[in-house]
Every structure is written in C-alpha cells, then in structure tokens.
Symmetry: D2
Subunit: 328 residues, 4 copies
C-alpha cells in the first residue's frame, strides 16, 4: 500500500489578522517568531529551527480565520501524483503558481472532504536557521510548527479519507459511548512524521479551525513563554493554563493572538512509527483525557474556533452542526 | 526595637484527617513525605531537607481542620520571653510539656488575635536528612515547609500585632479600593526568614486556614509532582493548575488531601531582608495579582478553607463574616 | 530512488556484561530500565515509552562489547528484500529464526562493510507501555533508544554504503582539513527517523562501538539522572559531564556501566526530514563542535570504546588503525 | 551572645577589569546584568531582583583583582558598633564618606585577618527592580549575589574570627586528615543569611579571591546561560562545566570574565538557620565533595585566583604559601 507520493509533515499555516502591526508585535515581540519577509498584506514568519521561508503566514483580513494549512511533500513529482489522486476523488482543488505564495514553489490547494483548506507543496526558499544562535533568540523559543487541530462534522468519513488516500497513520483516538455496546469515533490524532500528530480531527460544529500547535523544547520553555507574554501585557491572551494532555501526553499552554487565532505551545510527545503501533484509545468521558491532571479547559477553549476559507472564493465556509447532535 | 526573642521561621503545621491510612497514602506515596513516626492518632512527617522530627503532623479527627501552626525560636529562653509578652498582651495561651507533641520540647501555644492557633517551640528531635540521598527520594521532591496562609477578619489589627509584637516584616501586601481616595489593607505577606513569607494574612470569613505552603526546587519539580499524583489517581486533588502568582512571583500548584486540607507546592520567591525593603503593593483588582498569567483560581480555591481549633477546648472557632462585608 | 524496503529506526542494541546481577543493578536500579524478561545469560530491557519487548539486551560475556545493533523495518517482506540486496552486495549475513533472539521474529544479521554487526527485524512481542504510569517510574526516566555511535576506519566507503544502499540521510557531518584546499570526511550523523541520527559514524581505530544513545525528555531529566546515579554510588560511572554538543545541538551526559559499555543520555535535537535539508558541516577543529560550551571530553571518552562481534564466529573483530593515521 | 549589630548578607563585590568596554559587553550582553550607572573608571551593575544601585562594581585597573566585598548591615548605627569592635580587635580599617562609593552611604572598610578587603555599609540608593519585567530580561537571568569565595592561609584563626566576632554561622565544612587520629579544618561555608553561605573560606595560597557566586532560579536557567554565552562567542569563558557540588548541594557552572575574574552561577541550596543545625562535615578526600557527580574541576579552577587589594594603599597583598604546606 505504498503511495506514489510521500507527505513529509505539516509545514505551515496561513491565518488572517485584522491589524498587521498589532499582530507583528504579538508574534515577533511576544512569541519570538522571526520575520522573514512582509508586504502590505502579509507577514511571513519562521521559528527558531526553520531553514525555510515560513512556517506561519499572517494575512490581513476582516476577522480571524484559517486560509490554509500546508503539507510538504518529498518530491516535486509528488504534487502531480496528488493532483491525479484528487481528480479521481473529485476533490475541489486549484494550483498556485510558484511565488503566488511568497517564497514557495508551485502548490496544490484542496478543500478536504471536511471542508479544511489544505495545501501541498515541495519547494520553498531557504532562510537562515537560528537554532544555535542562542544569543539572538528572545525569551520565547518556539522551534517549529507541529500540528493543526481542526473541528469537523464528518469524522468517520474524513478519518478514512486521510488514512486510505493520503497515508496518514493514527497515534491516538477518542470514542464516545453511544449505547452500552456501541461507540463512535469522536476525535483522531493522525500523523505523517513519526510524532503524535500532524493533524487532529475533532468532532464539533465545523468546519472550523481550532489551533496550530508549535513545538518547544521542554516544559520550562513553555513556562518562560508565559512569563514573557504576561510581562509584555498579553496575560489575557493566555487562554488555557499550562498542563499535560492525557491524549498525546504532551505538556501545553494555549494562547490566542489579538484577533483570537489560537496557538498551542507544545512539547513532549513520543515516537509513533513502529509498524505494530496500536493507537491509544480514550473515552470522551475519561477525566484525564483532556488534562491528565484533571483540570477542565475554559469555556472559550471548548467553544470558540475560527472559520475556514473556501479555496476558490475566499469566502468562509458555512458552519454546520454535528450530525449526531442534530439527531438529538 | 530588637526583640528579646528571635522567631526563626514557620516550622510545622498540624492538620486533622479523618482516615490515617488514606492520608498516609496521599502524603507518603503521593507527595513523598517521609514518615518519621506514627501512633494510633498521628503521623509525623518530614520533607527531604528536614533534619528534625516533623514539618507536618496528621492527626485523626472528624473533619479537615487546623490544629496549630508552629514557629521555631532561636533559644529555649525565647519561650519565656514570649510567655511574658503574651501575658502582657492578654493572649489566650497554654504550655505543652516536652513530648506532649511527639519529638518536641516544651512549647507555648496561643490563639492569636485573629483566632489562629499558633505554637512556639525551640527543641525538636533530630532525624535523618535525605537531601542528598536522591536514590531514596520519589518523584515528588518537597524540600521543606515554607509558609501558612490564614483567612482572618481583622487584618488591620492583626497585621500590627505581628509586626509590632513579634517582629514580623512585610514583603508584599494587597489593598482594596474603598473610595476614590481611600484604600484598605486586604492581605499581607509577612516573614521572619528572609523569603516572601512565613505567614500570609488574607481578609475573608474567618478564622479559617487556607493552606500550608511547601518549598520545591523549581517549576519542573512541581510539574513532575502533578504527573506523579495524577498517575497515582489523585488528579481530582490537583485543585488549581500550575501558574505564577503576581504577588510573591512564586510558581505554584495547589493540591488538596482526601479530606480537603490544602497545600501549595511553591517555588521561586526572592530575598526580602534588606533593611530598606519597600513592600510591594498590589491592588485587589489587578488582573495579574492572583495569577501573573491571568487565569482565575477555581471557585473552590476562592471559597473553601478549613476551620481552626481552640487551643484550650479543641473545638472549632466560630467563623465570622468580614467586618466590611457585614456593613454592606 | 525509493527502496523496496523501509528501515524505520534504530530499535535496540545488545551488549555484553561480565556480571548480570551487577549489570541489573546498574541498568534497573540505576538507570530505570524495565526488565521485560531474563534468563541465565540475558536480561531484556525496555525504556519507559517502549511498547515492545526490548530496546537493550545485556548478554553475559567475558568483557564489554557490542553483539549487535538492530534496525526495525516496516514490513516482514522488507527482510527478504534486504536479503537480496545483501547477497548482491556480497555482505556477510545470517538469518536468525523467530525467538532465536527472545521476543523477536525472524531477523537478518550482517557485518556491515565497516565491521559493525547489524540486525534487521520486523516483528517483536508487545510489552506494557509505562509512559503515563508516572507513579511507577523512578528518578531516571529514559524514554527510548535514539542512536548508535560507531568507530570505523573507512568512512568514505561506509557513508556511501548506508546512503546509497539503505537510504540513510545525513543531518550533520564533520570534515578534517587535509591541506589548504582539501578536506576529508571525518564523521557523519545519519538517520532514517527524522531526527539527527540513528547512526553516527566516526573515523577512529575500529571497528569499535562507542556508545548507545537514549532519549530523555529534557535537560532537567538528565541532571536528575546524574543525581540519582551519584547518590546510588555510581558517580564514577558518569564519564563526561553534562553539556551541549555543537554537532546535533543535543544536551547530553555520558555514563558507563560497570563493565565499561557507554551510554549517552540525550535530548534536544530537531526535525531533519525536509527534502531540501542541507547537512550541517563542522570542521574537526571547531572549538564548539564537540561541546558547544567549549569543554573538552575526558581522555577516556576520546580513546576508549568496546570491540564488536563477528556475527558468524562470535569472536571480536580485530581493531585496525585509521588509514590516514597509518600514513603518518 | 547577641551582637550589638546585625550583618544581613553579602551585598556586593568590586573587581578590577582592564578594559571597561570589553567588560561591559561580557557582563551586560553576556550575563544580563543591568547597568545602573557608570563613569570613566567604573560600571555599577545590578541583578534582576535587586532594588538597589549595585551588586557588582567593575573598576578599571591593571589586572583582574578584588578591591572589596561588602556586607550590608541592618542599621546605620551598626557601623559604629563595628568600628568599635574593629578598634578593639586591632584590625586595619578606614571610613568611606557617603558617595565615595557611588550610590552608597558611609561605609567602613577593613582588611580581615586573612587579608581580604571587606566593607560594611547600611545605605544605598534604590534602583528599579526588574524581577517581574520578564519581557525586558535577556536569556541569562541572574537574580542576586549569593556569596564570596576566598583563599586564605590561616583558616583556624579566621574561622573563629568570623564566628566569634561577627556572628557568622557554619553550614558545612571540610577537613583534611593529618594523621590517623587527627584532622585539620580545610574549608568552611559560613553565612549570615540562612543559606549555605555568604562567605566560603578555603585553605590555599593567599590571600586570593576565587569567585563571586550569583543566584539563579534553577538548573535550566544556568544551562540557558551557557547556551547564550557560548553563542555570543564566550565559550572559552565557561571554565568548569555544569554540575552539582557535594558541599552545599548546589548546581553550578563557573565562568570567567575576559580578565579572568571568576563567577559562579549557582542555585539550589537549603535553609540553614535552625538553631540545632549541625554543620555538614566533608573530608577533603571524599570523591563527591567537589562534584557530587564525580568529575574533577579543571586545573585552572583549582590553581588560579586573583590578588586582593590593600584597603589603605591600593596595592596587592603579597600571596603566601599555606602554613602546613610550608612545613612539608
């Protein structure tokens, strides 16, 4: 079942912000991202370990939203193979020319069957890697992008779609008990790189985008980030206090930019590519699932997420109720 | 204004638990305290850096409560000086004979003017110090007791009482705005050892005991404690998620024993004994006062605390409303 | 250039020890490995994140040595493809039947062209995963095996052999200046999983085995390991003090078991699988190459390593001088 | 035995550097000290927790040396009491007028009986405290001065002198075995604040000044300091790799400024003021005394130290051999 293409990892995300200057302060002064390039409508950011043009694009818009998430592939020809596949699958798609997204070669964008705008690309300009330039790093040391967390209404279909067509594997998943002998999938942590995830699919009103996850070295670095953000005046942007997830075993904190785009500062998962890996199963009711230490997320974290863009029209996709909630 | 006695530091606390076996599991297996000695009604615990018999006594009782907190003095004769002082001040007091509290020499107990049962003692049996026996330590490495946090209704009087009579100094305090040009003291962090506090006085319904604070080396050790407690099944006992306090600048987590006695695992304060130290002032409304990172404490943390014992009768002191709340 | 097989990662190592009881104490009490199984001549160990039978095998022998390192493949049929490849390449090999190495399916062992005994296998028994059972973990929290570091005399050939035949990629490498305009490869960090390495090849007298690297979560965990080992009496086994490598950027400490087998406790590398990754180049003379903070390794670390076994005879391979040193 | 004065703690040190600009870069860009004030011959530095003018003074001079260390006292009148004491003791002394050392009130300097230039003062200008201004802090977060480490030739006398006359207490000490039933004091860790030390006295050629110790929050902060210094080009200034001391149990790294003045970045000691504290005794031969993890200090750390100044003439005191070495 080897694919004729190889998706390496989640590589970047593009989100909208309403005020570029305000966003620049939050992301660069606050979170320590490095600005590779900018223009009137975009800021291209990279993290400390990145050797390429961007892992996050801020684009001027009318409200917080997701424009796209992007996966990098192993070879330019993989893009043609994916194009064929998406034609066969009847997926909405469009090609971007080299440079249409700054610093990047040609790219293929689709609307996945859950509604998420997803890009595939191979080539990107190089940029200076700051990993060992510790003296030029600030107090918040984000190393790289890790994953995207999406709220969708059709997890059964979408899970199979990513697994069967794109070769995504599953590290952990959550089920909801429907009746005494029946349970339904509620969420899945899927990956291409051998970590817990590149993509989390969560059943909720959707399509919506919940957060982008960024990797930091250790828990202490995440606490240092909180101190820096809070001292800089961004304490109200720290939405969910530091803790350990049951699912993924990662240590986290969640922050939101001034427009409400959410990020997870994340560390501590594990190797997931052994061929006999058995996905870890959680029940939605497990008191340690969301937080291994027991605390509940705040209401905003549970309820709020941003809309996602139609890759053809640029409009926001309508947000639908969860099917099994409709039934109620 | 040198005193004829020298109070060194908060040295131990005695709290009641309803089930000694259950408490032993929580404190020893869960929190890594070392049991120095026990009998049918008590467990005497010490922390990893302690060279004496106990820093915490668990006593069988009908519900969670504070029996006493204890300060150590520099010399046996200090106790006689304190006795004279308390006679002059008209404070309720009683002497304990050597051994009446196990492992301890003679001691003087009083009910302070806020209602808190407070002990003074000089002599205590030595015990093996575990500080460098890392291989015998567990995953939770509590080093020593740090402070006691008490809810009282008469902060103006009590603050002066500790400052003037016992030589307590103030590192930080909180005021409440009463009117445009008037504010009232709401809380004070007072100390004898040169840290942020041995004693925190908070205005609230009282007298009640809010928590005992224990020192750990660093934030990572506190996170490790959460992992251990949660894995052992005590996730619901982690009441307030890790964070940094505005007041004191300490990194904390709060846990409660199976009966509800509360402890703070605490690290990170600073040196407070320079002679020109100006106490840090916070306003009750400052959004970073309770948590520098902005999060609010859970309702239970804000509202719940345990009663304190009458040093003569052993009964619980009646809990009174705050004077200025009465006025409303 | 896709291979008809997929090597997932370095999965385990087998080293010899002279006294199994003494070794058990060091590895289990000292380093916190979990014993899955043992017999008169072997102890099978796993780390805290492992879901399989072993990541380290201790085998009774006459002196410290390497019996084999093992890579896991993605499918059982990969082993047949590798067998064909090795036949074509004329490499010495032998098959192991299922269970010949306890807990493991059939396996193919070879002597690589540098002399290192290398195994490939697919199937291994499952074992209980301890990752979130924090309360059962000790003070030393090794999560998984990370890499093998081998001393060989023919790096130019061996580097190409691993890259061309087995699909190993290179994250970093070191060159030695030969003359003003000429340099020779001195060491290479090669990987299959997208980390800095599964295999380090270093030019030195060989073939010898320098160390097995094990992953820990963060620097603090590595310091905790030092405290635990030292308190347990193993301070003389901490060979090289904690530091950061220039090459790999990892934080490390090196320890040796009572027979002299060396392990690196390791954390902090980065993602290496982007398709345009340009290997980081170091010059052997760079003062921050070995230790980013400047300290030199101790003489024993630079000079000592253990012999490796002939996969057919079980005898130690003769140790040869480096070719370019011979020329001197 | 209460003294008519109260020495609070070691408060600052003054060392000489040959090039103020070069030193400014090392201390401010490298170590994150804050420059409060400077003139043609001095730079006055404070650490992140300091609320006063300086904890370290760099003074232009011909070579690295110690000009003085300073203790802060509790009251201005303490200085008069100390003056009387030193007159009685026949100690060389001189008064400094207010402002003679910038930012400081009147001060009394002495040459202690070991030859160390020591100052006592009460009053110092206030300065902005940076403790919670995390966003303005750099990667190296030194919080405050902790201790001074001095090499002297007359420990028996000097130890008594500090204990009996100035009220210094001892947390730990080291003895040297002279014969089977005889040992001599070799080193002592003495304190006024309730930490392991304000002053370490070590038997060696002297008087010389070995290092000033500065407090950091935790081990991770000390490792971060190494990364920052190394990346900035100061890797050769990291003299002794991170480790844990046996004596004091502190985690440390040692760095030297471009002139050779040595600093210890230090964390992790314990409370030492309980009235029944029994000083921890080490034997000079204990393999875990210097480094709990077993590593030996580098030769430069063991052999090199800077001269100290005559408080009257400004000349360097002659350096004498250790008495018991002379006898050999």
């Amino acid at each position: 079942m080897t694919k004729p293409f190889d998706i390496v990892r989640l590589h970047h995300a593009e989100v909208t912000v309403t005020d570029l200057e305000r966003a620049r302060h939050f992301y660069c002064e606050g979170l320590g991202f490095i600005e590779t390039e900018s223009d009137d409508n975009h800021i291209y950011l990279r993290a400390l370990e990145d050797a390429n043009h961007h892992c996050l694009v801020l684009t001027k818009g009318e409200r917080a939203s997701l424009k796209h998430i992007a996966y990098r592939v192993s070879a330019d020809s993989d893009l043609d193979e994916l194009d064929k596949l998406f034609t066969n699958l009847g997926v909405t798609k469009r090609w971007l020319k080299p440079g249409e997204e700054k610093g990047q070669g040609r790219a293929l964008r689709i609307q996945d069957p859950g509604g998420i705008p997803v890009e595939f690309f191979f080539e990107m300009d190089k940029a200076e890697r700051m990993l060992q330039k510790y003296h030029l790093q600030g107090n918040v040391k984000i190393k790289r992008i890790d994953h995207a967390n999406c709220l969708i209404t059709n997890i059964d279909d979408l899970y199979d779609w990513y697994a069967d067509n794109l070769g995504f594997r599953t590290s952990e998943y959550t089920v909801k008990t429907i009746s005494e002998d029946k349970e339904a999938m509620w969420a899945a942590w899927m990956h291409r790189k051998p970590s817990v995830h590149d993509l989390a699919l969560i059943s909720d009103r959707g399509p919506r985008f919940h957060h982008t996850g960024f990797w930091m070295d250790d828990a202490k670095s995440i606490l240092d980030a909180c101190d820096h953000l809070a001292a800089l005046g961004y304490y109200a942007n720290i939405e969910r206090s530091p803790g350990r997830h049951g699912t993924s075993n990662a240590f986290f904190v969640y922050v939101r930019d001034p427009d409400g785009n959410r990020m997870e500062l994340y560390t501590g998962d594990y190797f997931t590519n052994d061929p006999d890996w058995e996905p870890v199963k959680w029940n939605l009711d497990h008191p340690q699932r969301a937080t291994f230490w027991g605390a509940m997320p705040p209401k905003s974290w549970t309820e709020e997420a941003v809309p996602v863009e139609d890759i053809l029209t640029g409009e926001y996709l309508p947000i639908e109720e969860l099917a099994h909630n409709k039934k109620k």
